[in-house]
Amino acid sequence: MRQSRSATILLLAAAVATAMAVFLPLWWVFASSLRPGNSFVKYTSPLSWRAFIPVGGDFTNYSGLLGGEFTRGLLNSFLVAGLTILFGLAIAVPAAWALASIEFPGRGAVFAFVIVVSMIPFDTIAIPLSSLFQTWHLSDSYPGLILPALANGFAIFVLRQFFLGIPRELIDAGEVDGLGRVATLWRIVLPLSRPALIGAGMMLFLSQWQAYLWPLLIGTSPERQLAPIALANLSTLFSVNLGQILAGSFVLSIIPMVLLLFFQKQYSASLSTTGLKG
């Protein structure tokens, strides 16, 4: 298909305008986070180019933020997300391997169960689950924060699809060499499965990193507060430091962004296996 020069320029202009409109608020957050305290407001009324180019800015907000409650929240968030990846994969990998490689009666039913359960949106059952966690003495604890995220049917699904794609000969070769099914998984299949492990790991990580309702319901004491709660609490303080809130917003956003940048391929491959192509 040929495209005239003027059409290309028109499309380019539209694309640039849309991309800017969507991206600008985020850029403004970053620029404003470099203005100490609430001083960024000076540049929006009236609007000046300095609202977007932080000349003369500094890192006051970041040092203030990292000296406060937020740092503990951040460390807790890393701990909880990291353990979720670790235990989540430790649970999902064997399950996916069983579903992909062993023929046993009831396999179809178990797989259907995994799919149907993973379609229950977690937030709908978060409130009944939190009252169960109270009776199970799990509220306000690290296990309480981590456990619900471990029931991730999509991680199982993504891994199973990947395992199914591994050539049968490789797996049979393992059995000929006298490896059992578990040893085959560990020695032959897992080393080949890096992309799927990264994809499923990203899903587990993002499900924790984006969580707000659950940590709000369960992790009440300050020592176990997660970063999003610490960020939300900043806006309820007596004197609100918006610059610090924007700095915290930037920190919490840049981490998944960098991860997505590095693992974009594996993550979108996983999304598309769980997606329309089935």
């Binding site: 991309a19 259907a112 949106p121």
Partner: protein, 319 residues
């Protein structure tokens, strides 16, 4: 995100097709091996199944169970209440307004997100210099955690924030946004849309890539113009990804909570009292757990209907 939860209608058919083929004659050794395999399979599956049952299935039933209980503060214990909590909820005018606000919000927001993300996908799949860069810039907000979208936009929408600054710069009057009962829900809609567009755009772009180029070539030979090709080829063939995005997005929007809890507390005048916040409020702020759980059950039923519609649509499509 609730989105991931809805992609698997296809997977279910897959599971049915996956049944083991007719077996060869069974010898005793084979049978022993099969038994060992089954035991191994369930051992490997056990942790996952236990997690899914305790963390997903049990709370669903406990919501139903607790929704027919009543906590008596005077006696300090719970008693069976039958459908009393439901009766209270369904005859309560506050709950009617919660349902109305939630439905209106969803009926406007989700079609808007589908139309906008489709428009973005169409634009950003044209031949444009550095198209990858523009696409990434549109996607980036989707990586911002939902709870972080809230402080970003509450700052941008405040009286001397970014949005009013831009409005004033182009000669329009400043708006109250979150503090006005007629604009607060709309403002929450803007936040959600901004955080969601890039994500859903990716699915529509994937759908666009599945449309065979040859269809367009034939249409061009027939002299069909850009609009004609859009309405006769592109949009009909995007029906499946678009309806998927609509359903997934609707389920997500029914669960919106953080902006309401952090910014508006349902106000001004109940104008942003979406159902998830109302449940939280009933169960944990007012402390009427029974009514809160009845509301959870109502929400689960609404979402089940939506997901059932999705299954139907996808099945009709694959015929």
């Amino acid at each position: 995100m609730a989105d991931t939860a809805h992609r698997s209608a296809v997977a279910l058919n897959d599971a049915a097709a996956d049944r083991p083929a007719a077996r060869p004659p069974v010898t005793r050794a084979k049978r022993r091996r099969a038994r060992r395999d089954t035991a191994l399979a369930f051992t490997l599956l056990a942790p996952a199944l236990v997690a899914m049952v305790t963390m997903r299935v049990v709370p669903m039933f406990s919501a139903v169970w607790q929704s027919v209980q009543q906590l008596s503060l005077s006696q300090g214990r719970t008693t069976f209440a039958g459908l009393e909590n439901y009766r209270f909820l369904l005859t309560n005018s506050d709950f009617h307004s919660v349902l109305l606000v939630t439905l209106v919000f969803n009926l406007v927001l989700n079609p808007a997100i589908v139309v906008l993300s489709t428009a973005l996908a169409l634009l950003l799949s044209q031949r444009i210099p550095w198209v990858g860069l523009w696409r990434s810039l549109v996607f980036v907000p989707a990586a911002v955690p939902g709870v972080v979208v809230t402080p970003i936009w509450s700052t941008a929408l405040q009286p001397d924030g970014l949005v009013n600054a831009v409005l004033r710069a182009v000669g329009l009057p400043a708006q109250p946004f979150l503090t006005s009962s007629s604009q607060a829900l709309f403002s929450i809609g803007i936040m959600v849309t901004w955080g969601a567009l890039g994500y859903w755009m990716i699915f529509i772009i994937a759908g666009l890539k599945d449309i065979p180029e040859s269809l367009y070539e034939v249409a061009m030979l027939d002299g069909a113009g850009w609009w004609r090709r859009l309405f006769s080829i592109t949009l009909p063939l995007l029906r499946r990804p678009m309806s998927f995005v609509l359903i997934a997005c609707t389920v997500g929007s029914f669960l919106i909570f953080a902006p309401v809890q952090i910014l508006t507390k349902g106000g001004p005048n109940g104008s942003t009292n979406l159902i998830m916040y109302d449940i939280y409020n009933n169960a944990y702020q007012i402390g009427d757990l029974g009514v809160g759980q009845a509301e959870v059950v109502v929400l689960m039923l609404i979402l089940a209907v939506i997901v059932a519609i999705q299954f139907r649509l996808l099945r009709e499509d694959s015929k």
